[in-house]
Every structure is written in structure tokens, then in C-alpha cells.
């Protein structure tokens, strides 16, 4: 009896990796999925913090893909290891703070390690030549294969016919004829293949699956590094960058103001880690103060918080301030008028 060939597939939750996985499963290969969590992954749940997005499905797309295909999915926390990829990318950043090529190399390398530890035979990705400007180009495909150490055990089923034959093809584990020759940014071939496989309701995020490709998010990350004087971060930092208005009146502190109830509930979880405040005399948002704020700074922060409450037009409002020990005090402040908050404060 011949050995069952096994492949591990990088599942992002999008259509391409789903199709690539299905294409190999169709050839009788046993496939299991692997999904990496960097801390910067765009997920329905992150958006779902905000009330306005409550109608969006809250599913995790990688789990949905795995369940739809009927394969196991291994979700790997790479938050700590990923810091070096983001802070010191050998191949640099894309249009924003996205180190896409280093990221892909890193993930394929982790998949190779997983493949070796679990006695699997090759790796699948949903890459398509020309699909992404930084990581999915004809000239970067061999870089990823070489630097990850996956070499010719890395199969890209959607564009395999445009690339040299890999080990699984040469060994006859899979047929090259049943792979594809997709190139470019168009989505029609993928949609046609999805239709052929009977796949519906798949995810096609317009901005990719990573917050680091987002201009606004990247600006907040750079601001964080500049304010701290070091390119380092913790998970809480990157989570908080996804939530609220970030307003930095001075380099030593910023104020994170909840935009609505969902964000306020999320920020509640950080009350023990940050000085926080909300308007006591009027309805208003919860805000966290990040940094080393003086008494004078807290007064400014309170004026900002008051600006976003129902007392914004009052002569004076009372703001409740809680320090890190949970001690409460109050500040009487005049809310900032709109034109008293310079544009540069808004990160």
C-alpha cells in the first residue's frame, strides 16, 4: 500500500488559499490547514467591537474555510516571534508598515517547521504571480521558497503551471496538469474555479488580511514608536490601535477616546492598566490616557474627553479620573471647542 501523501496549507481565510487547498485535496492528498496569528490580522471580531458593524458576520474566516473544506486547522500564535519581522524587515516595507515579503518568508518557514515536525510532505499557499505588488511577484516567488527553506516542497497550485515543477509534481504525488496558470490581480479565474468547486459565501477582503497594509493604522503604529523612542510593542498596544480616536496633544501622552458603546466596553477591560476618565456631569465616552501624563496633561485630556460628551457646549463639566490604583478624583474643565484641537493632534 502506498504512503498517504500529506500537505499543510497556509489558510488565510480568503478565497485564494481556499481554492489552492481544494485543488490539492481533489488530487487525493491529505491536507491540514495552518493559520498564523500575528496580532495584526483583520478579523470580523475586531470590527465587531463597534456597534455599527454588528450586522457583519462575526465568523473567523480561516475556521470557516477549514470547516467548509472538511480539514483540520491549526491556529498558531506567533505574536512574539513576529515582532522581529515587523521591526527589522530584511526586504523593507510596502506602501505602509507592511513587511509583506518578510512576512510570507516567515510564515512559510514556520509551516516548513510544522511540516517536518508532523511528518507531512509539502506546503501549499494560495499565492498568484502578480497578485500583490510586494510579495506575490514572479521574482519574489523563488525568494520565498529559498529563504523559508521550503525550496521545491512549496506548491502554489493557482499559478503552478507558470513556475518550475516542484518536488510533489516531479515525484508524481500531484499532477501538474490539474494545477493552474493564474496571474495578475484579476479575480475572474478564481471566481470561476470557486463556482466549479461549488464554493459560496467566501471572504474577499478588499484591503487584504492585515492591518499593517492600512494607512491609518500604520500611522498610529509609527506614532506609538516615535512617542516611546523605541520600535517595540506589546499585544495590548496593537489591539488598542484598532479602537477609538487617538489624540496626541503632546509627545509624552495620548488619549484614546471610545467612539461608541462597543468600543467603550472594550476599553473597560484596560481600566486597570491605564489612567482613565469619563465625564461625570454629562453622558460621554470612556477614554484611556497612554503615557506619562502630568496633572496639567490630565487637565488637557479631560478637556478632550469632555469635547466628545453631551456637555461639549457647557461652560464647565465634571470629569471623573481613575488612576492606576483605582483611586478616583474629579476635574472641573471647560470642554475644548472644535477649533481648539489642532489637526496634528489626531493620529
Amino acid at each position: 500500500m502506498s504512503k498517504q501523501i500529506k500537505a499543510v496549507s497556509l489558510i488565510s481565510g480568503g478565497l485564494d488559499s481556499m481554492l489552492a487547498t481544494k485543488a490539492i485535496m481533489e488530487q487525493g492528498v491529505h491536507v491540514e490547514g495552518i493559520n498564523f496569528f500575528t496580532g495584526f490580522c483583520v478579523e470580523g471580531h475586531t470590527h465587531a467591537i463597534r456597534k455599527k458593524d454588528k450586522q457583519k458576520p462575526k465568523r473567523n474566516n480561516s475556521l470557516w474555510v477549514a470547516e467548509t473544506l472538511g480539514i483540520k486547522l491549526h491556529i498558531i500564535d506567533i505574536i512574539e516571534e513576529y515582532k522581529d519581522v515587523l521591526i527589522n524587515p530584511k526586504h523593507g516595507y510596502g506602501a505602509n508598515m507592511n513587511p509583506c515579503l518578510d512576512c510570507k518568508v516567515f510564515m512559510v518557514k514556520k509551516a516548513r517547521q510544522w511540516m517536518e515536525e508532523n511528518d507531512f510532505d509539502f506546503i501549499i499557499t494560495g499565492e498568484v504571480i502578480g497578485q500583490r505588488p510586494m510579495s506575490q511577484r514572479r521574482d519574489t516567488m523563488p525568494v520565498i521558497a529559498a529563504e523559508s527553506g521550503a525550496d521545491d516542497r512549496l506548491v502554489r497550485p493557482l499559478c503552478a503551471q507558470m513556475l518550475p515543477a516542484t518536488l510533489p509534481e516531479r515525484e508524481g504525488w500531484i499532477s501538474r496538469d490539474e494545477l493552474f496558470d493564474f496571474t495578475g490581480r484579476g479575480r475572474k479565474p478564481q471566481m470561476a474555479l470557486a463556482d466549479k468547486y461549488g464554493l459560496k459565501d467566501y471572504s474577499q477582503p478588499a484591503g487584504g488580511c492585515c492591518f499593517l497594509t492600512d494607512e491609518s493604522y500604520s500611522k498610529k503604529l509609527v506614532d506609538l514608536w516615535q512617542a516611546r523612542g523605541t520600535k517595540d510593542y506589546e499585544l495590548d498596544d496593537v489591539m488598542l490601535l484598532k479602537v477609538g480616536r487617538h489624540i496626541r496633544p503632546k509627545s509624552n501622552f495620548k488619549v484614546i477616546v471610545a467612539r461608541e458603546d462597543g468600543e467603550a466596553r472594550f476599553l473597560q477591560g484596560y481600566k486597570k492598566n491605564y489612567i482613565n476618565m469619563n465625564c461625570a456631569s454629562h453622558r460621554g465616552p470612556l477614554a484611556l490616557v497612554d503615557g506619562d501624563a502630568s496633572a496639567e496633561d490630565l487637565h488637557v485630556a479631560a478637556q478632550i474627553v469632555a469635547r466628545y460628551g453631551q456637555g461639549r457646549d457647557a461652560e464647565q463639566v465634571e470629569v471623573l479620573v481613575r488612576d492606576l490604583a483605582g483611586n478616583e478624583s474629579t476635574l472641573q474643565v471647560k470642554p475644548f471647542a472644535k477649533d481648539e484641537m489642532p489637526k496634528e493632534w489626531f493620529v
Binding site: 478579523e43 470580523g44 471580531h45 462575526k58 465568523r59 473567523n60 475556521l63 477549514a66 470547516e67
Partner: protein, 75 residues
């Protein structure tokens, strides 16, 4: 059979799933795990992860912005 608790509050997707996955690796078949979360998405994700990996969801509860999933470890 033993009972265990996992606090996954304040964590956003997919961390509650990852913490559940890591905890279950330490448990035996038939053990019961109670996972407490604040991300409502876990009501979909942890059951989906359980279905994929052969574990059984015994009960899900929602109360005051907390979501509790009780599951039995499979093979």
C-alpha cells in the same frame, strides 16, 4: 473526568480559540473545560473549532457581556 476553567476575557478573535486549543492539549479525553470570554464571536468560533477537531460543545451561555462555552474534550 476532571473540570477545568479558562479565562479568555478581553481577548479578541482568534486568541480565545488559540487559548482553548492550547489548554485542550494538556487535557484528557472526557475532561470538561469551561471557557469565559468577552468577544461575542467565540459563540461561533469555538464551536466551529470544536467541530473541526472532534470536541463536543455541551453548553453556551451569554450574560452581561460575558460568553461562556462549556465543552468536552474529544479524542
Amino acid at each position: 473526568m476532571s473540570q477545568y476553567d479558562l479565562d479568555a476575557r478581553r481577548l479578541l478573535c482568534p486568541l480565545p480559540v488559540i487559548r482553548t486549543q492550547d489548554k485542550i492539549k494538556q487535557l484528557q479525553q472526557g475532561d470538561v473545560l469551561r471557557v469565559t470570554c468577552t468577544d461575542p464571536g467565540v459563540l461561533q468560533d469555538i464551536p466551529a473549532w470544536c467541530r473541526i477537531n472532534g470536541h463536543k460543545v455541551l453548553e453556551t451561555k451569554s450574560a452581561e457581556y460575558e460568553y461562556i462555552i462549556i465543552l468536552e474534550v474529544g479524542e
